[in-house]
């Protein structure tokens, strides 16, 4: 039996709702609140049941509008590269600072998306981020944490 992607997503949502409902029932409330008409558990419990009912209906009822996705037309390679670069960016941003990490992120993203005009890639990464940082930090007075620039004395 082949299960459609929409029904599969609904099944995942059903599992999520069951887990959510289980967690909702286990929320610790104050003893005096235990039998109150409304406590910290009430709303999540309603939501858990709503999720279970809606996802069950989606799984059970026949699909009238099916969403067809041609997987041959999906560019998995580029999206995986981009997600990996984004994850690395998130991991290093606190350690090496906003300026270097963001500039390297932009430069490598341009590269992995197939760009090879090195000059333009450089301008739209390092000077672009510097200008953006100046706009935020210098002109709008919005604090941007950057240990590296602080270390070399560019930022106060």
């Amino acid at each position: 039996m082949r299960i459609s992607p929409t029904k599969f997503i609904s099944l995942l949502f059903f599992v999520l709702s069951v887990f959510y409902l289980y967690t909702a029932y286990n929320i610790q409330v104050f003893a005096f609140d235990e039998n109150a008409p409304f406590n910290a558990r009430t709303f999540p419990i309603y939501l858990g049941w709503a999720g279970i009912i809606l996802s069950s209906l989606k799984i059970i009822l026949p699909e009238k509008i099916t969403t067809e996705v041609n997987h041959k037309h999906l560019d998995y390679k580029s999206i995986i590269y981009l997600i990996i670069i984004s994850l690395i960016y998130a991991a290093v941003i606190l350690k090496i600072g906003y300026f270097i990490s963001t500039s390297l992120f932009l430069f490598s993203s341009y590269y992995f998306l197939g760009e090879r005009r090195w000059g333009l890639m450089f301008i739209l990464s390092f000077p672009f981020v510097a200008a953006f940082m100046y706009l935020l930090h210098g002109l709008l007075n919005i604090y941007l944490r950057d240990p590296f620039l602080k270390y070399i004395g560019v930022m106060g």
């Binding site: 992607p5 929409t6 997503i9 609904s10 949502f13 709702s17 959510y20 909702a24 929320i27 409330v29 104050f30 109150a36 008409p37 409304f38 406590n39 910290a40 009430t42 709303f43 999540p44 939501l47 999720g51 809606l54 996802s55 209906l57 989606k58 009822l61 009238k64 509008i65 969403t67 996705v69 037309h73 999906l74 560019d75 998995y76 580029s78 999206i79 981009l82 997600i83 984004s86 960016y89 998130a90 991991a91 941003i93 963001t102 992120f105 932009l106 993203s109 341009y110 998306l113 197939g114 760009e115 333009l120 739209l124 953006f132 935020l136 709008l140 007075n141 919005i142 941007l144 944490r145």
Partner: protein, 499 residues
């Protein structure tokens, strides 16, 4: 009211705020023209920039961005038949054929004039109706608010999902579930944090918007990069033609604009309906109004067919501010983003906003009109140049969208857990969008989640746990009956399609 208008004018006409409207309209137009980036994303991208501003200035910038983005969406609809946002889909029905006939400049000009007229008329409605509506809304109690939020969420699910009501309702529940993460507002008990300190304060609204719109849109564009149906069509910028509108066309527009404005504004006021429904209904209504000869031109470059959705679209944008400013309930996904921004500024929209913060209430309304004027003055001469932004290669566009998204989150928390969470949610949202699970209901539910729980809590405590509060008050009952009608209509139309 006159005093309020003067307060609003003096705030909106300050040099800084005029500059902000101009910057907002220009930035909004450019962002709105970019593939897939609509007003919601445009406003979300502005949130980090407005952190340092005072609330009026920040909101004025966002109002400018809103109108600019709606107009920008129309530009890509007309030139490329590629509506950036659902609200401009109907614009493409006649705008694109007109552009294909070598009248692209004229089509863009008609869209600009219609947007301006629709926005102007609806700004007047807003000026007159908002204070009276806010007085009426003072009669609203917790059960009515709860029912109204249920109506808003049901309506947005019904209208935004193209016949996939259940999918949209699932997104509503998911949005509400995400809103419950963190401390309970009354008891401070932590929920669904799994002992992670980073989740104690809940998930940030900006994070959710950036993940589900900006970032997942960027990932979707890359993901569908090989799809031949979505390949960008090339357009010669020299073929834009004249932007002059002749007398006959002006008369046609003059007939269409008033009725489309009224319809657009009224639909915009309804929670959940918004610009998309308004533009489609205006297009359909206009087709019924015109004579047989004009009717034949619909879909082939009709002036009526282009003017009606554009007018209604902008009128609905102003209309959607009525429930936001007077009830604190956003009427659309975009105003939901604006509600989040207002809350970020420490302002609680609602019936008392125009008493407690009149300068904000009136300056936003006045700046809308100023925004309209600025939009027209800026965009008409810039049309041929602005169109060039469509040529930005996606190799540059996508990383820049990701950069803006990450920066927005980093500025808020200086915490990489939030960035990881945003990437995770964006990946999930990308797959959900691939299978037509709509994101606006999720956003609206996430924004309303806290308020909904609070009003339900109050209602249940007042009624001592009894569900009687749902039918004790006439307002609550009427609102719930409307909700039931919407759900009933969805079920009926599903069975009708089946048969």
């Amino acid at each position: 009211m006159i005093e309020g208008i003067l307060i609003g004018l003096s705030t909106a006409l300050s040099l800084t705020n005029i500059l902000m409207v101009m910057v907002g309209c220009f930035a909004g137009t450019i962002i709105g023209m970019l593939p897939g980036l609509g007003p919601m994303t445009a406003i979300a991208l502005m949130i980090p920039i407005t952190y340092g501003f005072d609330p009026s200035t920040g909101l004025i910038l966002m109002a400018g961005v809103y109108y600019g983005a709606v107009f920008g969406g129309s530009t890509s609809s007309i030139l490329l038949n590629a509506p950036g946002i659902p609200g401009t889909v109907a614009t493409a029905f006649d705008g694109y054929p007109m552009a294909q006939q070598g009248k692209a400049g004229k089509a863009l000009a008609i869209a600009a004039y219609s947007s301006f007229a629709g926005g102007t008329i609806s700004a007047i409605f807003l000026l007159v109706a908002a204070p009276s509506l806010s007085k009426v809304s003072l009669a609203f109690r917790s059960p009515d608010y709860f029912a109204l939020m249920i109506l808003g969420l049901t309506a947005i699910s019904a209208f935004s999902s193209k016949g996939q009501f259940l999918k949209a309702m699932m997104m509503v529940v998911l949005g509400l579930m995400l809103a419950t993460v963190g401390q309970d507002s009354l008891s401070d008990i932590t929920r669904f944090t799994f002992n992670n300190m980073n989740l104690t304060d809940g998930i940030s609204f900006v994070l959710i918007v950036m993940a589900t719109f900006a970032m997942s849109e960027a990932l979707t564009i890359i993901f569908r990069g090989k799809d031949p149906n979505r390949a960008a069509k090339q357009i010669s910028l020299t073929e834009l033609g004249s932007i002059k509108v002749n007398k006959e066309e002006t008369i046609k527009m003059a007939k269409t604009i008033p009725r489309s404005s009224i319809l657009g504004f009224l639909i915009g006021v309804l929670p959940g309906a918004g610009a998309t429904i308004a533009s489609f209904l205006a297009y359909g209504m206009e087709r019924n109004y015109v004579n047989e000869e004009e009717k034949q031109k619909f879909g082939k470059g009709s002036v009526h067919g282009l003017s009606a959705p554009e007018t209604a679209n902008n009128a609905a944008c102003s209309g959607s501010f009525v429930p936001l400013l007077t009830l604190g309930i956003p009427g659309s996904g975009t105003t939901a983003v604006m509600l989040g921004a207002l809350l970020g500024f420490g302002i609680q929209p609602g019936p008392r906003l125009y008493q407690t913060n009149p300068e904000i209430f009136w300056s936003v309304i006045m700046s809308m009109y100023i925004g309209m004027v600025v939009l027209l003055i800026l965009n008409l001469p810039l049309i041929p140049y602005i169109a060039r932004i469509l040529a930005v290669p996606r190799n540059y566009l996508i990383p820049l969208i990701l950069f803006f998204s990450v920066t927005g989150i980093y500025l808020m928390s200086f915490n990489n857990f939030d960035i990881f969470l945003m990437i995770g949610i964006a990946v999930v949202a990308t797959f959900l969008r691939l299978y037509d699970f709509p994101m606006p209901p999720l956003i609206l539910a996430f924004v309303l989640g806290g308020l909904m729980e609070e009003t339900l809590r109050r209602s249940l405590l007042i009624s001592d746990g009894s569900p009687n509060f749902l039918w004790d008050r006439p307002i609550t009952l009427i609102i719930l009956l409307i909700t039931i009608t919407i759900v009933g209509w969805q079920i009926f139309s599903t069975f009708r399609k089946k048969n």
